[in-house]
């Protein structure tokens, strides 16, 4: 049937193909409409706002690239970006350092595996804002958990205000984020681990490869895609970090934990410079897209590997 159609009427095939394409388009139309209305249009509006002096109140006026020129001189934004990168590197390493062992631990069925999986994953279903509020209380020096507990157990001579200086405050946030996010990363990594064929591992064992060699030569390369996914999610999430620094630290102590998004928020909704905030958002968007592309390229499928 098919061959007859092809030989007798190439023109009709073209129409059929194009008809199929049109139907395909029809199917994806709802999704396209969704993306256009909720992503493309707002993105276009943000881009347009970034070219204007757009105060919250009063008239806005077109200023061309002035906002972008101002960003170049905005040292506090670049400091915030620097801190954001620092935070991203530290927190990503921390998350993987915790999530990978957990994933290996819960990958194979063993007694109580489901209980462990649930327990480790549980914090991931808590919203970031709620988790921040919870930890904000845990970290409170007077009525919280950590400082009073350490004091009552005699570990510290007086109650230590964990949020008063940079190092303890920063590492408290890292601990909170790892607690909150590691479970999610663990699940992603677990699916990657489970997709590695067992016979490969067995063959390597027969060839005399130790656990470390197997991990390096089999597990890691075969988990490239999973790792790429987990890494991009973690990096993108960390670059966009805001809630925990806003709720727990208010950007403190002494503005040392202002992230890029926090700075955008401040410019837009504290100083009411919406146009400038939009320009900062565009810059951050470009940086984020570039970072994601770099990661995809680094973790691309090597030649010859299927």
């Amino acid at each position: 049937m098919a061959s007859i159609a092809v030989t007798s009427a190439p023109a009709r095939t073209r129409t059929a193909t194009s008809l199929r394409q049109w139907i395909g388009l029809l199917y994806v139309l709802p999704a396209v409409a969704f993306v256009v209305v909720f992503f493309v249009v707002p993105l276009g509006m943000t881009a347009w706002m970034s070219l204007n002096n757009w105060p919250l109140m009063g008239e806005h006026s077109f200023v061309g690239l002035d906002n972008y020129v101002a960003i170049l001189r905005d040292t506090r934004f670049w400091n915030a970006l620097k801190f954001t990168f620092y935070y991203t590197v530290v927190v990503t390493i921390a998350i993987f350092a915790v999530a990978f062992p957990l994933a290996i631990f819960i990958e194979r069925p063993r007694p109580l595996t489901n209980l462990y999986r649930t327990a480790f994953f549980m914090p991931a279903v808590v919203g970031f804002a709620s988790a921040s509020l919870l930890w904000s209380w845990l970290l409170n020096v007077d009525s919280g958990l950590f400082s009073p507990a350490a004091y009552d157990l005699g570990l510290t001579a007086k109650k230590v205000n964990l949020l008063a200086t940079f190092q303890p405050a920063f590492w408290s946030i890292i601990a909170m984020v790892v607690w909150k996010v590691a479970g999610f990363t663990m699940i992603i990594l677990m699916t990657g681990l489970q997709s590695i064929p067992q016979d490969l591992q067995e063959a390597a064992v027969i060839d005399g490869a130790g656990p470390f060699a197997r991990f390096r030569a089999i597990t890691l390369p075969l988990m490239r895609r999973t790792l790429a996914l987990a890494l991009i999610l973690s990096v993108a999430g960390s670059i966009l970090a805001f809630d925990q620094f806003y709720i727990i630290l208010r950007g403190g102590p002494r503005n040392q934990t202002l992230t890029a998004v926090y700075w955008i928020f401040n410019q837009s909704f504290v100083s009411f410079k919406l146009g400038y905030g939009a320009a900062l958002s565009m810059v951050l968007l470009v940086i984020l897209v570039a970072l994601s592309l770099i990661q995809l390229w680094l973790l691309r499928k090597p030649e010859g590997l299927d």
Binding site: L56, N161, A164, G252, R254
Partner: protein, 415 residues
């Protein structure tokens, strides 16, 4: 069918008649949540006594500015709002407010209205805001703890040395009891309660017109040394260093703090919510005596181009009457008309009189970028107070704040 039609016509005539009978207009007014105690009362009293009506919306404190901005952009702004007075210059500068100079000056009691409010309500010699509610900063002390510490429970400190000495004595009671409390990471709290110490000693942090930051003064340095010394001696709880204002009132209300700078609002709040705390109220003193206060509260502003301006004026007139001022005072605001303040307060807690006096001579810094300079949790003022009270490099922190504040002032769009 026929009966239904008749009913409809009847209904229509009723509605029509109703509309005719009430040619009265309704104006929409917004207030921030801080005013949620007195504002509904005064609106109710107005609505009962007038044909024109006020519809009141209460908006969370942090949201009222963005929400108003969005509503103004969309053409659905309220006819008027009760606005934190420090925002009046920036709103006026944005061209958002109706010029009410002529009406204001025609009020017979114009000269008795809170001068601090009128000053912040004035932009380029025109009046855009008039006082509505008021709060003045004062110093409160715990009489019970003073007594236990062997101090005279009826006498509050009158200069900086006495503040420190009293705090030390109370602190010596030990246990959970601490001598002094302030919110060490809250710009808004400290502009309210810390700058009066500087003003009372003859210094200031901004020039009169808000065009210069003047942080580099011996008075500021002296006030900082007072707080630093109390922190160093352990008279202040650890939590103060990171308190962004959540404990501004609650710390003293817990009954374990000897002294704390606070506001007139604390009188009503303590009396109703913490009747067991026995406290005294005095002025925030200067280094060697004298006193000053921050005059805070709300200005009443009218949205530019509103058609309901007559109703709005009628309402404001009512709020300025003795009846209106008494309602305000009874439910948590100080009166804003100095000529009848005493009458409005006469049946209330006598401690209000101290606060009212503080209010009458209160000051308010003037700036179109007040939020960026002072209130913002990440602004230069908030950063500086935290560094100078708890950090090591006082001079560097002051210098840094001076430069940042001046650059924010210089970059302001409408100076």
């Amino acid at each position: 069918m026929k009966t239904m039609l008749a009913k409809l016509m009847l209904a229509a005539s009723v509605i029509g008649g109703g509309l005719q009978a009430a040619a009265a207009e309704t104006a929409n007014i917004w207030v921030r949540a801080d005013g949620s105690n007195f504002m509904p009362r005064i609106v109710d009293a107005f609505n009962k006594a007038h044909r024109d009506q006020i519809k009141l919306d209460i908006i969370p404190n942090a949201e009222i500015i963005p929400k108003y901005g969005a509503a103004a952009a969309g053409g659905t702004a309220p006819d008027a709002l009760s606005l934190d007075l420090i925002y009046t210059p920036s709103f006026a500068a944005a061209g958002q407010l109706e010029d009410i100079t002529d009406w204001a000056k025609s009020l017979p009691y114009f000269s008795s209205l809170s001068p601090a409010h009128v000053k912040t309500g004035t932009y380029k010699d025109r009046i855009y805001g008039l006082p509505f509610s008021a709060d003045a900063s004062v110093l409160i002390w715990n009489k019970k703890l003073f007594k236990q510490a062997g101090l005279d429970p009826e006498k509050g400190p009158t200069n900086w040395a006495e503040i420190e000495a009293d705090a030390e004595k109370v602190n010596a009671l030990g246990g959970d009891i601490k001598g002094f409390y302030f919110s060490g990471n809250c710009g808004g709290c400290n502009i309210f309660t810390f700058t009066p110490l500087i003003w009372a000693s003859g210094g200031d942090i901004l020039s009169e017109d808000g065009s210069k930051a003047t942080l580099d003064s011996p008075q500021l340095r002296g006030a900082i040394d007072l707080y630093r010394s109390m922190v160093k001696k352990g008279l202040v709880p650890e939590g103060a260093q990171t308190d962004t204002g959540a404990n501004f009132f609650a710390a003293f209300a817990g009954g374990k703090i000897g002294l704390s700078p606070s506001g007139a609002f604390a009188i009503g709040a303590l009396n109703t919510q913490y009747p067991d705390v026995d406290y005294g109220i005095t002025f925030l003193p200067g280094k060697d005596g004298g006193w000053s206060s921050f005059a805070g509260g709300d200005n009443f502003v009218v949205t530019k181009g509103t058609k309901k301006i007559a109703v709005v004026k009628e309402f404001l007139d009512f709020a300025y009457s003795l009846e209106g001022q008494t309602i305000l005072a009874k439910y948590g605001s100080l009166p804003v008309r100095n000529d009848i303040a005493k009458d409005a307060l006469k049946d209330l807690d006598p401690r209000y009189q101290v606060a009212a006096e503080a209010m009458a001579k209160g000051r308010t810094p003037y700036s179109v970028v007040f939020n960026d300079l002072i209130n913002s949790a990440n602004g230069p003022w908030t950063q500086m107070i935290n560094e100078v009270f708890f950090g090591d490099d006082v001079d560097g922190a002051i210098k840094n704040a001076q430069e940042t504040m001046q650059s924010i002032i210089d970059q302001a769009p409408n100076k």
